[in-house]
Amino acid sequence: MKLIHKFIKNGVPIVLDVNSGSVHVVDMLVYEILDWYPELKAGDIELKLENKYSREKIREALEEIKHLESIGQLFSEDIYDGLTASRFGKNVIKALCLHVAHDCNIRCEYCFASQGDFNSGRLLMDVEVARKAVDFLIKHSGKRKNIEIDFFGGEPLLNFTVVKETVDYGNRMASDAGKNLKFTITTNAVLLNEKIIDYINKNMSNVVLSLDGNRETNDRMRHFDDGSGTYDIVSENIKSFIAERGEKSYYVRGTFTRYNADFSKDVLHLADMGCKSLSVEPVVSEKDKSYAIREEDLANILSEYDILFSECMERMGTDREFDFYHFKINLDQGPCAVKRLTGCGAGYQYLAVTPEGDLYPCHQFVGDSRFIIGNVFDGIINAEIPETFKAAHVYNKPGCRNCWAKFYCSGGCHANSYKLTGDINSCYEVGCEMEKKRLECAIALQVIKKLKEEKNDQEVS
């Protein structure tokens, strides 16, 4: 289906041609013509708009629209339907999420892992399972050169010895197999100390550290067993970590709930604390939880994104600038169409491994035994699950097919959909509205940045 999306942000009218990925800045005349074009004929469009614009201008604008159409940058054809199955033909696993500890040293209210143990009792992965997981990844990664292991939990630093042994073993095996194995870790930062920071900085290509925002926001949801908050320890540890991290990639991430639906203040709190790469995201939970985001919170949340957008604009090019993950977008050099159709690859390119060695489609499904795909000792036992996940791409999700955001959102998170609707192929609408808002902000930021750069260039020359 031919599809465009237009919106005005910060006074700039922007048009996205969905299938080609082209982005245009237009004047208000073109913007208004696109309310009627191509359904109405040129003559009828002139009649609609002649009170506001001269017929000559209207014709001129229509010519420009037609020109873009002829070069495939407006109302371009959808050439992607049916592409996925043929391109991602063989199931090749390229990333594993190792749950090295089903245990946690803090008690977050919204933890999807039942405070760390995924309803399975506290458990640490032993090194045998971890090694088997490495072997499994290398064996199933086919011709892929780049493969990944993320250390996850619960809290992975509770099993740091196994993390280190896995890195040593993984590096050895990967180099024998001619692979480039990258490690990442997701931690609550409570146990970080100088030695661990040093190790992480040497060995982990990306690090995700959790902190929700200011003390009040954070400590309401993230506390120790005795009820005391984690803010003081964690914020200090994160500062020490950032000071040592240099240019390497990291993210400080938080979760917002309906208790801090005014989360822009938390994002800015983290930014002013010195966190340059930030992500603060809506909680995913069953609807009946007190902190769950409800439909009536949506308007507020969308206006919080507007506040953040303005802050990002204002800080652009200054030393107060920060990266807000959801506003980052790569307009020219982003991922290919196939990647955009399939998204995360959970269940067939990316799998989670439990301490016992069971394989699941991803960390969010762990603990729900209906989703066990196999284990690291015997390999894949239930091949039907990977096929189901592979088929869950944009063109098979009825809600996504005609959504303008499909090539950026990639059909969203299967686990979200499953938790909220019971079906990995349906959409969670409140989530979709937030996603579309973030994308508009992201696209507009890139556009405005580009316009600014051009203006500066012109002034120089």
Binding site: D17, S20, G21, S22, V23, H24, V25, V26, E60, E64, H67, L68, Q73, S76, I79, Y80, L83, R87, F88, V92, N146, E148, K182, T184, T186, N206, Y251, T255, E281, P282, V284, Y325, H326, N330, L331, D332, Q333, G334, P335, C336, A337, V338, K339, G343, C344, G345, Q349, Y350, C362, H363, Q364, F407, Y408, C409, S410, C413, E435, R438, V447, L451
Partner: protein, 46 residues
Amino acid sequence: MKHIKTINGSSLSKSVEKGGCGECQSSCQSACKTSCTVANQECENK
């Protein structure tokens, strides 16, 4: 053009030709991980 300024051409349709190699980073979108939209990922096959 007087009324339209193109910021970005048709990079997406061009990407079909060589795409799908699978060498890029995996990209979880959930709220507990490196949540992200796919669009901010780097392609490893430039």
